[in-house]
């Protein structure tokens, strides 16, 4: 098992955002988290990447307890994240943004840059434009590309399709599949439950800080209660 979240509780001040969430991600999988607004999906990802501290519970990565490891060290271990709202560095160019992803690396980066530019030709055209002046969809590409530049074993993607046109959404999902087939494990948070579930090996449904259901993606697509709540009821 690559990533194992064991019964974690996370608080914002006194408010409990996660109330005993457990989940597992195996090497090579695409795993999705779906759930309503405020269910705790972003918090779960932030806790895995080390931006939020745990109140209790454990996070194991490659069998090693990383619950107390600071975020920047988890990056080196192989956890990459494209944050919600993208978090692109506005005053850095596209290329500088991507190179920030390789901040801890000292090896040759040309191959990795080429790979990201191959996945997102749009970024290659705009490599010297400021991140802050890129469109929403383009910023999403920067965020994903930048996370890939950390050479992650598992990449955490927080709503990569947010605010994108349908054409671009389809494109992003096929890129996620491509990233996965090149050997990166993916933990995906999505509002677009339909497409996320189609793509996922397994998925978890979150409700107010708890996992209420977990099953292979295809099964959840046909689950009546899931269809009702997250897939528009048909």
């Amino acid at each position: 098992m690559l990533l194992e979240v064991k019964d974690i509780n996370v608080h914002y001040g006194k408010i409990a955002a996660l109330k005993g969430i457990s989940l597992e991600v195996n090497e090579g999988e695409i795993v999705s988290l779906i759930g309503a607004n405020g269910a705790g999906k972003t918090t779960t990802l932030k806790t895995i990447s080390g931006l939020r501290p745990l109140t209790s519970g454990k996070i194991l990565f490659n069998g090693e307890d990383i619950s107390k490891t600071p975020g920047h060290k988890r990056v080196i271990m192989g956890i990459g994240q494209a944050p919600e709202g993208r978090g692109v560095f506005p005053g850095m160019t596209v290329q500088e943004n991507l190179l920030m992803g390789a901040y801890t690396r000292k090896d040759d980066l040309t191959k990795d840059l080429d790979e990201v530019y191959g996945l997102f030709p749009r970024l290659a055209e705009r490599r010297s434009q400021f991140g802050g002046t890129m469109s929403g969809g383009e910023q999403q590409m920067i965020a994903i590309g930048r996370a890939l530049m950390t050479k992650p074993k598992v990449v955490l993607l927080d709503e990569p399709s947010m605010g994108l046109a349908p054409m671009l959404i389809a494109q992003i999902f096929s890129i996620i599949k491509e990233i996965n087939s090149r050997g990166t494990t993916v933990l995906l948070v999505e509002q677009n439950a339909q497409q996320a579930l189609k793509l996922s090996d397994r998925a978890y449904v979150l409700e107010t800080g708890r996992v209420v259901k977990s099953a292979p993606g295809k099964d959840l697509l046909n689950d009546p209660s899931v269809r009702e709540a997250y897939l528009g009821g048909h």
């Binding site: 080390g50 931006l51 978090g87 560095f89 506005p90 005053g91 901040y103 991140g131």
Partner: protein, 379 residues
Amino acid sequence: MKGDEVTSEETTPRRNPFSAIGHGIDVMRDWWEHAKVWQRYLVYIGAVVFALILPAPAIGSFMSPGADWTSVLVYPIGTYILLAVGLNVVVGQAGLLDLGFVAFFAIGGYNVAYFGTQYHWNYWATVVMGIAMAAVSGVILGAPTLRLRGDYLAIVTLGFGEIVRITANNADVIGGARGITNVPHPPPIFGTKFLLDPAPYYYLMIVAIALVIIFSVRLQKSRVGRAWAAIREDEDAAELMGVPTFKFKLLAFAIGAMIGGLAGGVYAGKAVFIEPNTFPFILSATILAAVVLGGSGNLPGVILGAFLIGWLPERFRDFAEYRILIFGGVLVLMMALRPEGLLPSRRRKAELREGTGGMGAMGAEVAGPTTEASAEVNQ
């Protein structure tokens, strides 16, 4: 990898008296960004020559008809520049709002005064001591507070500045409210004695400013500078890139503090006499105003800002009581018309347009109930 080919600068539809000047400044900055190495060196040499002839009486009679121009150049102008370059590391580069910067200036000054008068240490040794003590206090202040964000950090640093001043006011070992008198001057350099003539102090100040500028530019271009830029623009994203954000914020505090301490040491070497009221809160605010007015994060801008903030009130002494009012009015006007500062960097403009950057992430996050666990996030 600079923003070289970006030409799609938005033309702001605003029309105001400053826009023409602003445009001229932008053109100059763009020229500078593309300038060849030899062109840049010419500008550096020009700047040094300019600094050397600046105290000339011909210039002084216009710049400072009321007071001795060279003295004005040492304090407030030179001292403000030194302080502003130091504060710029914290505010402009790392994006942390520090409202108590004067504390480090005080620590540098008091070290020179105390060890010079009590133990008769060599002046330079006292300056080094002041810098070291300032760095240590920067770390002591930063370690618990840099986990806070934005406005919380501002309040705590403001408190720190006051604590240092009030402590000095009440500590009899360092003279209490009376302060320390007969602070020794620097020993002669190459036969130049440091006595009442302000000129040697001016040249000492120029050397200090030049060293600090070189140091600051080197830092900005290094991995450290890149990490600071990332922290300033989005702290969480920086951590996700593998930047040890807490360590780098602490480093910014320590380096800013050292420059503040150096400024205090140089100042005390000329002042003969220092007291707690030399280091009021308003000085922290003034230096911050200089940084923001000039163009936070961009050294030429910060230096220009500090120069103007130091010089304008001296120049318009004739207006007596009204001068601070006019000065404040001019500041408000300038910031309304050119909020990114007089000489912003391109990058800073892009940050401001995005609505982040500015001065630190104001979106404070509430830590979890387990302080221990929350303490480890940023380590």
